[in-house]
Symmetry: C2
Subunit: 324 residues, 2 copies
């Protein structure tokens, strides 16, 4: 089952969000619009808007209001992706050429800045200072997370704690905030908003761990880019950290990582991936993802039994499912 | 007379802003703090905070409130500078190594993102949605201005209108907004805020025209980098556009610009600067700057006769003064 099937009931609203996303970046400037639309059309699961809409169901759901949260959250996510592509020297994302590949680094950087700005303009139309505050703080934390990621490139001494703190900032926080702000914009009570934040945070952690496993063990078709792109770029993710703790593989894996680094990632990573695959690490990573899924489900428990609760629970289960 | 002498009366408050600026970027993350502080310590005229404080004098001036406008505006300016340095491949700014030169492009990009985020977090503490809206819109317009600048690099067919629209977005708008938000944060009435916006916009236009003249005709000591850096990078500013309209120089100047472009700016620009200097363009550029100064002064006219009015008028005169 695809994730999208799960929120089939939201389809009409998601289509509206999609239109609004296009509209939000299609004006004022030709090149910026083209680059933004290119990024938008490359797809994506629109996970953050979905969380916003589902969270909104726990309050007074009004699509016009929800749009002004859902669109900025997807735009902030997109802006961070386009800046990551500058950094990562990525040629493709989701099987499509990146903005930096199709235009150049300068266009990619300013497109990111522009999309960040547009996101804030839309969110501020709601006139709710709490929403602006939460969004601004999330942007700061995401920036720190991104910086941490490049600072720890090829660092084979990093611990589980480094990794968790980084994905918390880089991924989990924005998903948590999507759930929280969806609830706040719909005037849900504070406790509901906090529970949804908790749910989003834990789903986000599980999601990133799964994504990092998929990057190593998925197929090119599944992930839209060749497997092993994280390790090629020096991004030492959970399965790698755990495999390095496995004495049976540690030395050989260190040699492989050093070789990848030496060749700036332009090298076959099959041996490294095989070593990681055969370590005890994968099992531990999967357990950790499952633990976060459980926590996400626990956070939903006290919420009223709406269809949206079932959807959120389905998404958590889906994220927890092995997909490689 | 130096600009700083003019606002000697604000000195205590400016010192406070300076401390707050440091504090605002000095936490959470070592590398981001170091890069941000490096940028901050490289100096700058703190023109935007000064405008915020002076505008605040037309309402109920409270330094704690003014800080939360003055600091974000300087931070947004700084963030745009650090992103410009990535684009411009600049090695120094104000005589100091740039963040991208001292660290690298990736650090510079994320430092910019982080500083943008911090600026918004501080501004949102005031809880005034209008302020967030104005700031977000200014960020979008600045992004468009920056993009326009790189898009018109080495474009010798651009018109005066292209140039004016670009510096409006790139420079004048943020100065206008500094004046406007200083007034709004101090609860000045709407008409006062609008007049101050008008003043700031016109001073900002004059300031950028002067800055572009200075880049060509100033000394390295004055501008903290070798003269002609705009033209070397392909930034065709007002004096160049006007010189190109002067038939006596046009052909020779086009040859020089083509030569600069061909060598990616790594070439002597004295001949080009001499041609621009000898064209009728300089005089026209100076007249245009003077016209904006006049408009700025006119916008002040109906404001109450406070010492701050005199300061703003002095700043406008200062900006209008030939300094090369």
């Amino acid at each position: 089952m695809k994730l999208l099937d799960m929120y089939a009931k939201l389809k009409g609203d998601i289509t509206q969000i999609e239109k609004e996303l296009e509209r939000s970046v299609t004006f004022e400037h030709k090149l910026l619009s083209e680059a933004s639309l290119h990024l938008l059309k490359a797809g994506g699961k629109r996970l953050r808007p979905v969380f916003v809409l589902l969270a909104g169901k726990f309050g007074r759901y009004n699509l016009e209001v929800m749009k002004k949260i859902a669109v900025p959250l997807e735009l902030i996510h997109m802006a961070s992706l386009v800046h990551d592509d500058v950094i990562d020297d990525a040629a493709t994302r989701r099987g499509q050429p990146t903005v930096k590949a199709k235009w150049d680094n300068r266009v990619a950087m300013y497109t990111g800045d522009y999309i960040f700005g547009r996101a804030l303009v839309i969110a501020t139309e709601l006139g709710n200072p709490q929403i602006h505050q939460v969004l601004s703080k999330a942007i700061v934390q995401m920036g720190i997370g991104e910086m941490e990621q490049i600072r720890y490139f090829f660092n084979t001494d990093q611990t589980l704690r480094h990794y968790l703190l980084r994905i918390r900032r880089k991924t989990a926080l924005l998903i948590a905030v999507s759930c929280q702000l969806g609830a706040i914009a719909a005037d849900a009570d504070r406790e509901t908003a906090n529970r949804l934040y908790e749910y989003g945070y834990n789903v986000g952690m599980a999601f990133q761990i799964r994504d990092d496993l998929l990057d190593l063990f998925g197929t090119e078709k599944q992930i839209g880019k060749p497997p092993g792109s994280d390790i090629r770029q020096g991004n030492i993710t959970l399965p790698v950290i755990l495999a390095l703790q496995d004495e049976a593989n540690r030395e050989r894996l260190l040699v492989e990582i050093a070789r990848i680094r030496e060749h700036n990632g332009n090298v076959d990573t099959r041996e490294a991936i095989e070593l990681i695959k055969n370590s005890k690490g994968i099992h531990v990573a999967e357990q950790l993802a499952a633990k976060y899924v459980e926590k996400a489900l626990a956070a939903l428990k006290e919420l009223p039994s709406l269809p949206a609760k079932k959807n959120l629970s389905d998404i958590a289960h889906f994220v927890g499912k092995r997909n490689y």
